[in-house]
Structures are given as C-alpha cells and as structure tokens.
Amino acid sequence: MSTIQTSLPQAAAIGEPSAWVRLKTNRNVIALWFMLPAAAFLILFLAYPLGLGVWMSFTDEKIGRSGVFVGIENYEWLWDDSIFWLSVFNTLLYTIVASAIKFAIGLYLALLLNRHMPFKAMIRAIVLIPFIVPTVLSAIAFWWIYDAQFSIISWSLIKLGIITQNINFLGDTSWARASVIIANIWRGVPFVAITLLAGLQTVSPSLYEAATLDGATSWQRFRYITYPLLTPIIAVVMTFSVLFTFTDFQLIWALTRGGPVNATHLMATLSYQRGIISGRLGEGAAIATAMIPFLMAAIAISWFGMQRRKWQQGSDQ
C-alpha cells in the first residue's frame, strides 16, 4: 500500500505530468468512476425511494393522484385503527415465535451436522434445499398441505385416530397463525443451521478434547466452549433472521393474504393491502415507515454484535 502511494510523486517528478494526467491517476477521482454504477443504482432505487416513502407517509397520495401534505394525519388515523394494531401484534408474535424456534432448531441441526458421519457433504447440501427454492413456490406446496379438505396432515392424524375431523388450518385464526409460523420456520431453519455450522467449524476440536480430559460433560462443553465462541456469529445470523421475518411478505401473501379476519396480517401485507390494492399510497407508506424503528433496533443489535466480535478477536478497531 505504502509503495503505491510513494511511487506516484516520484513518477510525477520525472515527467512533470499535466494536470489532466494527474487527475487521471488521482485515486479519489478513479474511485469516483469505479463507484459510479453501484452508487447510481443505490441512490436512484434505494436511498431516494426510502426518503420518498417517508415523505409520502405525510401526504394523502392515492394511485393516479398526487397528494398534498397532511402532516401526521395518516399516523393519527393508524393510531386509532384496531386492524393496524392487530397487524403490529401479529408481526411481533410471528417474528418472536418464529425466530426463537428457528434459532433453537437451527443451532441443534448445526450441532448435529458438525459431527462426524458418512455422506456429510451430501446431507449438508440437502438441508439447504428449502432455502434455494423460491419462497412462494414452497408456500404453494404448504397451501396444499394445509388444504381444508384434502390436507395430508389431517388425513394422517385421522388415520392415526388422534383427531376425528379435518383441521381447518388456514380458516381458523389460531391455526392460521400457527400454520404460517411453521411454514416460516421450515423455510428459515436451513439458513440458520448452515451459517451457524460455518461458525462451528472454526472452533478447534482440540478445545473439546482438552475439556473432555478435564472431565467436562457434553453440556459443559457446549455451554463453556461452543456457546461463547459462537456468540458473535449468532448475533449476526439472528439479526438477519429477525429482519427478514419481521419484513416477511411473500409467505403470508401466498398462504392467507392476511386472512382469516386479519389474523395473519403482518405490517408488510397490510401496507400492500392499503397502499396498492386500495390505492391509498399515503396510508400504505405510513405503515411501511412505522416498521423503520423496529428495523433500526435490529440493525443496532447487529452492529453491537459485530463490535463485540472484533473485541473478542483482539482487534483494536
């Protein structure tokens, strides 16, 4: 690095380059050109819409008609809207329950996959398949599995004599909530398991051997070796997991579209319902903007987790 920096003035001394040549070799100017395509995309289609969304939430814009500034009217409206609060409750329930179970099963699966066994690479590859297949397409499969009349789960349970009539998975409020949470867990476990597995593989086996010689039980080995070494990556993985669960849209839309009686409406689906389908863009934008504080909290936790990771590695950055 230092060589590059010092070589530039030397070259300049020999040839006395023109201002144009110096501009061409200036790292900041070159970097500007290199950053241009990425910056253009991110500013035009990410930063600008993000700002525009917040602005739209303060207007009464509708599809096909530009809005005027109405202050916090949209938010006041939402504050008194029981369906909005129901969607907030649903989102929190969905996120907390699904993330907690995803973490538990994911960590367990990662620990299993980290052990010595035949066909390990192949099993690991198979585990990730639910994550590869587009969410909507696997949600459609779940829709069929949860069918009110021909559900394979109901059929099996009836044959086993556990229940006497079909369960209305997506028609009953509690069952519908449980069903979408299970589908989300199914889809999310492979991601958690495979990323945690990558973390587990960096833990040296000699630590376990030493602990075993000292008489540690398998629980103690997990609690005092695996868990502390894995904490930073758990923080990052779970932040991502929480973030994606919180803003989930496609699974719900494919399975229930927020029904029955709004029992599975998340903030994202309600925002689509109000903003695009009913055409009240301002109100939809207000619901979407209301998600931002929650996301900020998740990002703050992620940032904190990474700082701690650096500290553990002895870096002074």
């Binding site: 590859a125 587009p134 993985v237 903003g275």
Partner: protein, 302 residues
C-alpha cells in the same frame, strides 16, 4: 483481514470434515439415538413438501380427491397431464422466460457494479472508503417491504410500469450490497504485490482490475452470481407490485395470481407449476453447492 483469513482456512484448521475427532468414543446405539434419528426426522420434515409437490404434480385428478380408495402417499397411474397442460395450454413458458430474463439481466448488471465498487473500496482506498463500505452494509439491511410503495411511484414516473425492465433496474438494489460485501472479502485476499508489479509495468487501474484481480476472484464471482440469481428468482413483492399484465409476469407472481380459480382440480397444475419453477434453481444449486454455501456464510461472516 483476520475475518477473511479465518474464513479461507476454516475447513482446514478445524479439520472436522474429514477427521474422526472424538466420535470413536461413542457407541453405535448412542449415535443412532443422538445423531441419526433426529437428523433423519429433520431431513424428512425439510424434504416432505417437495415430495408432496412432485407427487401431486404427477397424480391423476381422481386420486387427488379420493383419499379413501387410494393411499395419498403414493401414486398408482402417474400422469404427465398437469405438466403438459402447464407447458402447452398456459403462458408458463413465457413466465419462465421472463423470470430468466430478469434474473440474468439484473444479476449481470449488479455483478458489474459490485466488482467496480468492491475494488474501489478495498484497493483504491479513496477518502471515505470505510464509510462507503458501512453505508453499503446498511443498504443490505433495507428490506423491499418498506420500499415497494415509493418505488412503484418512481417506476410509474419513469414510464417503466408493467415492464420487466423495471425489475432489472430495481433488483440490483437487493443484489449490489450483498455482492459488494462478498467480493470485498475475496479482493482482500489477493496480494498487493501483484498489483504493484502491474503498476510498475505501466498498467492502469482498469487493466489491473480486468487482467489480475477479476481472474483471481473467479470463485467469488461465481458465488456472487449464483446467490444473486437465486435472489432474483425468489423476489416477489416488487414483481407483484410492478407487473400487471399476464404475459409480463414472473413465475412466482403468475403462480399465485393466475392459477387460483377456485377449481377443485387446480392442485395438479399448481404443484406442477411450483415444481417446474423450482427445478432450474435446484439444478443450478446441485452444480455449485460449495460456491453457494460460501456465498451465504461469507456474507454473514464478513
């Protein structure tokens, strides 16, 4: 740097992939109960929806709705009726083509932009490079669910509504942050000396990037490409919002909107549609498992 070094060395340092470790201390019955049985149950649960998808798509209609006469877990006279109906009587091939077109277009644009950006951040070390890196990481955390309403009006304003081109332009916002972070990790592992030699030999920055850095980062590029392609194929909310007319839709949107007609016999074609839509990704994944895994874990660990 330490992160990347750890990541690159991960499989060798731990050595857990090949080595037996302490597993010889366990007896077979114990391994059966604590390892193979739970693993088997989890695998069955993870794979069952796909089995069910595949089975339904080749099941004749009368077996689908008569669960007393025929065992639902098996099929007696498999039929390709649903799949051929899907391919020849609906616009499915068109939707597949749209999805492919959008995914390839958006991925190519994003990889191009990400290579340039990652190189600039890691190697040009311009003023504020670290800040830009952090901003790009934050961009990764902005979900489509809070952007689709304002983006719909932006797309409308540019006159791109109901055009697959709108998706090609919007998807890079999901892909660039991720690919840039992944490629930054790869570029950091390329020795400075190679670039210094090239600089002394009179190469400019563009030549260094194209002739030295990019060829050395090919595994990273493949990872970024595969992962981005999968993300494009999976994206739903933007496609649902921006595309209106039936022939322009992508597979996920078309499946959800076009097949839902209240028909009791819809399930065969619906499952066939889901199966055919998933196959390209699963095949791609089968060829590049390692790249895929390194993309996923790399982005998280960086």
């Amino acid at each position: 740097m330490t992160d990347t070094a750890l990541q690159a060395k991960a499989p060798t340092t731990a050595g857990s992939d090949e080595s037996e470790g302490m597993s010889y201390l366990e007896s077979l019955p114990r391994r059966l109960v604590t390892l193979y049985l739970p693993l088997f149950i989890i695998l069955v649960v993870l794979l069952f929806p796909f089995y069910w998808m595949g089975l339904t798509s080749i099941k004749p209609d009368e077996q689908l709705i008569d669960m007393e006469k025929y065992n639902p877990f098996w099929v007696v006279h498999p039929t390709f009726k649903h799949i051929s109906k899907l391919l020849f009587e609906t616009q499915y091939p068109r939707w597949l083509w749209n999805t492919m077109y959008v995914a390839v277009g958006a991925t190519t644009l994003s990889i191009f932009a990400s290579v340039l950006a990652a190189y600039a951040i890691v190697r040009l070390r311009f003023k504020g490079a670290d800040t830009v890196g952090v901003l790009i990481f934050f961009a990764y955390l902005v979900p489509p669910s809070i952007l689709f309403i304002p983006l719909a009006s932006v797309i409308q304003a540019y006159g791109l509504f109901d055009s697959p081109l709108s998706l090609i332009l919007v998807y890079p916002t999901l892909l660039i942050p991720f690919s840039t972070w992944l490629l930054m990790g790869y570029f950091k592992t390329i020795p400075f000396e190679l670039e210094e030699c090239a600089l002394i030999d009179g190469a400019n920055r563009w030549q260094i990037l194209v002739k030295i850095v990019v060829p050395l980062a090919v595994p990273g590029l493949i990872s970024a490409f595969i992962f981005s392609f999968t993300l494009c194929w999976n994206e739903f909310i933007y496609a649902l919002t921006f595309l209106q007319s039936t022939p322009n839709k992508t597979v996920p949107v078309a499946i959800v909107n076009e097949f839902v007609d209240g028909d009791i016999y819809k399930w065969g074609s619906l499952m066939a549609g889901a199966l055919v839509g998933s196959l390209p990704l699963v095949i791609l994944y089968a060829f590049f498992v390692e790249h895929y895994v390194s993309a996923m874990t790399g982005a998280v660990k960086e």
